[in-house]
Amino acid sequence: MQKNYLLIGTRKGLVVYKNTTNGWSFQSLHFKGIPVSLSYVDDRTTTWWACLDHGHWGVKLHRSTDLGQNWEEIAAPKYPEGEEIKEGIPASTKYLWAMTHAGNDKPGQLWLGTIPGGLFFSNDNGDSFDHNRSLWDQPSRKEHWFGGGFDHPGIDSIIVDPRDSDHIFVGISCGGVFESTDAGKSWQVRNKGLIASFLPDPHAEFGHDPHMLVACRSNPDYLWQQNHCGIFKSEDGAKTWHDVSQKDGPANFGFAISVNDENPEQAWVIPAVSDEIRVAINESLVVCRTDDGGKSWNEFRTGLPQQNCFDIVYRHGLDTAENYVAFGTTTGNLFLSDDFGESWNCLNNFLPMVHSVTFAHS
């Protein structure tokens, strides 16, 4: 089914673009003025989700079952009474950062990841959420998880294996990758092969920083991550990771990554200058794509600004759908490609900072 909507979560609301016979154009604005940390579309039901981050009033969760015509606020997940992030620091939902449905065989079930590191599960399409104890009770959490960019650790990625919905990965920034094969009842760390140059031991078991974790839909044993310390790929279901960063080129540091649904060897990243500076490389914007599993990277610049550019792309700010690739930047530019990222059109120069970009079908 063709995906003809783009949901853009920005610092000042949710922006929707639609693809018609005249091309992609602005369709609507929702939650004007309110930061949208993440937009998500449950492709089982075409339900749209918007995760809000009110500056004053806390995080909120909204859903729409009619393509954004009407929205319903539902209670955001809460940490149980008395829970702590660290000793003496009470746990409270700070940010909604990852969302996915729990599998085609589990209608109405959802996973939601948060800062400060808690994973939540809903059995009733978001009407209520349960805190996943097993991940929260990992012995490594209080000692070895920590914030990267935020004050506290957070779950930025959740992957449900399309072959087996009990098989789940989460990416924690900073903590690393964890895997469950029993629908979240137990978790195993999967950081072997990753490098954390910001730790005393770069090969430590915990504390890695997967900025974004993705899996190929047609071959989910192929996982990719844009890590703080480079680009890593696994071909064995995250049992081992291999550094596929470009040694003499831009494809190293960044936040966003996407993999082709049908081709596990094709992936996109949008590099930035690592890591204290965080601006576009050489003041120009480049999209890098590998077609051979990270052995080589192609640079695509056509249609992208090549001077006086400061844009970088946050971890949820890139999405792909068949031949379409779209991303939104920290300075409010929205770009779209219809040729797998090789050339680009700018859809908007004047958006607020973009947090997330999501393709959706009608």
């Binding site: 004053h56 009033w57 009474e81 746990a91």
Partner: protein
């Protein structure tokens, strides 16, 4: 009865919001009573552990409350309370 006034900013989410007269001995009880009148509004004011959100201020008889964690600041039967948002944003 305690009088509770709300910042206009909350009217965006609770259009029917208006000044309330309620019975409460402290700020914690006040939040419970306000939640009864406007279900869900408590989550806008306090976090998961029932502490006042960082950018919300509550004034009792013109004075900013001291206990933002347990909300134990006491009220009298004729207290006037203002629930405001902090001067932050952008």
């Amino acid at each position: 009865m305690v009088t509770v006034n709300f910042t206009q900013a909350l009217k965006r989410f609770y259009p029917q919001l208006q000044t309330l007269k309620i019975s409460a001995r402290n700020v914690s009880e006040l939040i419970v009573e306000v939640e009864k009148k406007y279900p869900g509004i408590g989550d806008y004011l306090v976090d998961d552990q029932k502490s006042l959100r960082k950018h919300v201020n509550i004034f009792v008889d013109g004075v900013l409350i001291k206990d933002r964690t347990q909300l134990t600041d006491t009220l009298t039967s004729d207290s006037e309370v203002y629930i405001m948002q902090a001067l932050s944003g952008g």
